[in-house]
């Protein structure tokens, strides 16, 4: 009897020790592999990463959470970076990838070496990696659905796209075109590439505007709304409804218009803090929790009534942002399990 109790206790202790070892991530090292840092969104993304991971490291939740950014936004460079991170002994790599498929080889090698790879924003298709994706198509469609409510009579639309050849640009544009196909009262009369940059968007819109009929609304992808507004103003044309993309200058312009003439629009984009969501997801996986491979991150949408509040929380010249907590990550995971 005593022997049996003892055996049970040993087994229980062993089990406890084992589960404890799995549940403990304080020795685990997480790295952020980032392909690009040259715009305000990416800068905010890196700042959010620091803001959330530094306290997490200090609190002993993980041993390290170091960000690495490649200089050239090149696939080869990032592939080499991933290999280096594996060699340096990181247990998980949180990845914003330069390409959805060209990094698959390097990601597979990392998985084979026992490293957890969590891709977000710029996701990878390699099945062994986790993906925190954004439903960009839905984001584009939501813009048209908003317009449908706002102007049921329809009208001419000008579309400002992002960087040609990038997955995100294709998806948002597909969503917009799908929305327009379902709502034939809208017609896209012009489409330009603004590369998510106010100055480029301004130049592109200024160039096409003289050839266009009256524009009821401008559908955008973020980082281009303010430039579009400037181009309309310079051409002396009435300001249409311009969908914004959460940049501070866009929100500020919107606020000015709202105060001056009751201007109404909406603003939607991805919070750069999604990097912190990816961090918590990686931590959960290292913790041995069951996490589905495909997760979906919510958009950050700003409407007429919460404009002031969001503007106040946004750093001058920055992007509206939210940082995620471990609980937020848990919710996203639970939602994906359903």
């Amino acid at each position: 009897m005593l022997k049996r109790t003892f055996a049970c206790a040993v087994a229980a202790a062993a089990l406890f020790a084992a589960s404890h070892a799995i549940a403990d991530t304080k020795d685990k090292k997480i790295a952020l592999s980032n392909n690009y840092a040259g715009n305000s969104w990416r800068q905010a993304m890196l700042r959010s990463w620091d803001k959330v991971t530094k306290p997490a490291v200090e609190a002993g939740i993980v041993a390290a959470a170091d960000p690495f950014t490649t200089a050239e936004n090149q696939v080869t460079e990032q592939a080499a970076q991933i290999q280096n991170l594996v060699l340096q002994g990181y247990n998980a790599i949180v990845l914003n990838a330069a390409s959805p498929d060209a990094l698959n080889g390097a990601v597979k090698e990392a998985c084979d070496a026992g490293v957890v790879v969590v891709s977000f924003d710029g996701i990878v298709t390699e099945p062994c990696a986790w993906r925190i994706a954004v439903d960009f198509k839905q984001m584009g469609k939501d813009e048209v659905l908003y317009l449908k409510d706002k102007m049921p009579q329809g009208g001419n639309l000008l579309e400002i796209r992002g960087l040609a050849g990038v997955f995100v640009d294709d998806e948002i544009s597909k969503g917009i075109h799908e929305g327009v196909a379902e709502n034939p009262q809208f017609k896209i009369v012009g489409s330009v590439h603004g590369d998510w940059d106010q100055a480029k968007a301004q130049a592109a819109v200024a160039g096409i505007l003289p050839s266009l009929p009256e524009i009821a609304a401008v559908v955008t992808q973020g980082g281009d709304g303010y430039g579009a507004a400037q181009a309309f103003k310079a051409a002396g044309r009435p300001t249409p409804l311009i969908i914004m993309g959460n940049r501070e200058d866009e929100l500020k312009w919107w606020k000015e218009q709202k105060d001056a003439n009751g201007y109404e629009t909406m603003s939607v984009s991805i919070a750069p803090g999604v990097s912190t969501l990816a961090f918590w997801v990686a931590q959960m996986i290292l913790d041995g929790k069951d996490v589905p491979k495909d997760l979906v991150v919510p958009f950050l949408r700003i409407d007429q009534d919460n404009l002031e509040q969001n503007l106040a929380n946004t750093e001058a010249g920055g992007v509206a942002n939210v940082e995620y907590t471990a609980e937020d990550a848990q919710k996203v995971v639970d939602a994906a399990k359903k």
């Binding site: 840092a37 480029k200 003289p210 050839s211 010249g317």
Partner: protein
């Protein structure tokens, strides 16, 4: 006939012909609607290309291997520094201009130090310095977009009877630089070095001093562009310089300046800058897909260069 040939001998003419043809092709599509506004927009954006184009033209004229690839980074750095110094205060407009130009001066000196002291070829030196400069801009501005002072914004976007005020100022600047190029010892030295560096040195031209001045000039014009462009587009941003890397070289080459050096063409910069903007507008107006647009842009630019270069070969 001789008059015709004399006109055709001016290589800069082709860029204007191309710009005009592109403009016609665009408004033909819209049935003549919006032609004037399109021209206004073209002059507005061409102005910035011309500013950096002047600097790049002087550098390229120095002869084979000379090119300034740090222009985009310099634009970004100067823009961010100037907007941060100005802090949206009208009273700081001049001081922020000085700050921007000081950035340009520093980058120019740094570029030339790499070229002369470390003996790095200019193409590598300016490319690597651009990483340093852009990183400085990122560290300094942290990617935030700071609004320009209202007076600067008003000045850079002002128009008189449909003509952008800035374009008039830059036309004046270009005219002055034209005189500098053709009528001063400095400008003629640049051309002489480009034609034959050894001969120029033997003739007593201080080659290295002229090269130094030219790289500084290019960086300072880039800084000026960064300052004005920040005012125009409502603030500086980290990606504001990107489009100027190829554009600064393209306006020089399309404008009829010899890539081999020793033969500069200032008026052509205007034609080429207008042309570059109008080609994009034309292809956007035609609603071509992005892939086709890139293809057409490349083919049209090649066609214009071949036309302009072909005339020169026959001479």
């Amino acid at each position: 006939m001789t008059m015709l040939r004399r006109i055709a001998d001016k290589p800069w003419l082709w860029s204007f012909v191309a710009a005009f043809a592109t403009w016609l092709a665009t408004i033909a599509f819209t049935g003549g609607q919006g032609g004037e506004q399109l021209l206004t927009a073209a002059f507005t954006f061409a102005t910035f290309f011309v500013i950096v184009g002047i600097g790049q033209m002087f550098v390229i004229t120095l002869g084979p291997g000379n090119v300034d690839l740090s222009i985009p980074a310099t634009i970004t750095l100067a823009g961010s520094v100037a907007m941060k110094v100005a802090d949206t205060q009208d009273s700081m407009i001049l001081l922020s201009l000085v700050a921007a130009l000081a950035c340009g001066l520093a980058v120019g000196v740094f570029n030339y130090a790499l070229i002369l002291i470390l003996r790095i070829p200019p193409i590598i030196a300016t490319l690597s310095s651009s990483f340093v400069v852009l990183s400085t801009a990122i560290a300094y501005g942290r990617g935030l977009r700071i609004k320009p002072p209202p007076m600067l914004a008003d000045f850079t976007t002002a128009q008189v009877a449909g003509v952008p005020v800035l374009a008039i100022c830059v036309a004046f600047l270009a005219a002055v630089m034209g005189v500098v190029l053709h009528r001063t010892v400095y400008g003629r030295s640049v051309i002489a070095i480009g034609q034959n560096q050894r001969a120029a040195a033997l003739a007593g031209i201080k080659v290295e001093r002229i090269r130094f001045m030219t790289y500084v000039l290019s960086a300072m014009l880039a800084a000026l562009c960064g300052y004005l462009f920040s005012g125009f587009s409502g603030g500086s941003s980290l990606s504001m310089g990107e489009q100027y890397l190829l554009a600064s070289i393209a306006v020089v080459v399309i404008g009829g300046t010899s890539v081999a050096g020793g033969n500069a063409n200032l008026p052509g910069l205007w034609g080429a800058a207008l042309f570059l903007f109008l080609v994009q507008s034309m292809l956007n107006t035609y609603q071509l897909s992005a892939g086709l647009r890139y293809l057409a842009t490349g083919l049209i630019i090649i066609a214009v260069i071949v036309l302009a270069g072909g005339e020169k070969a026959r001479r």
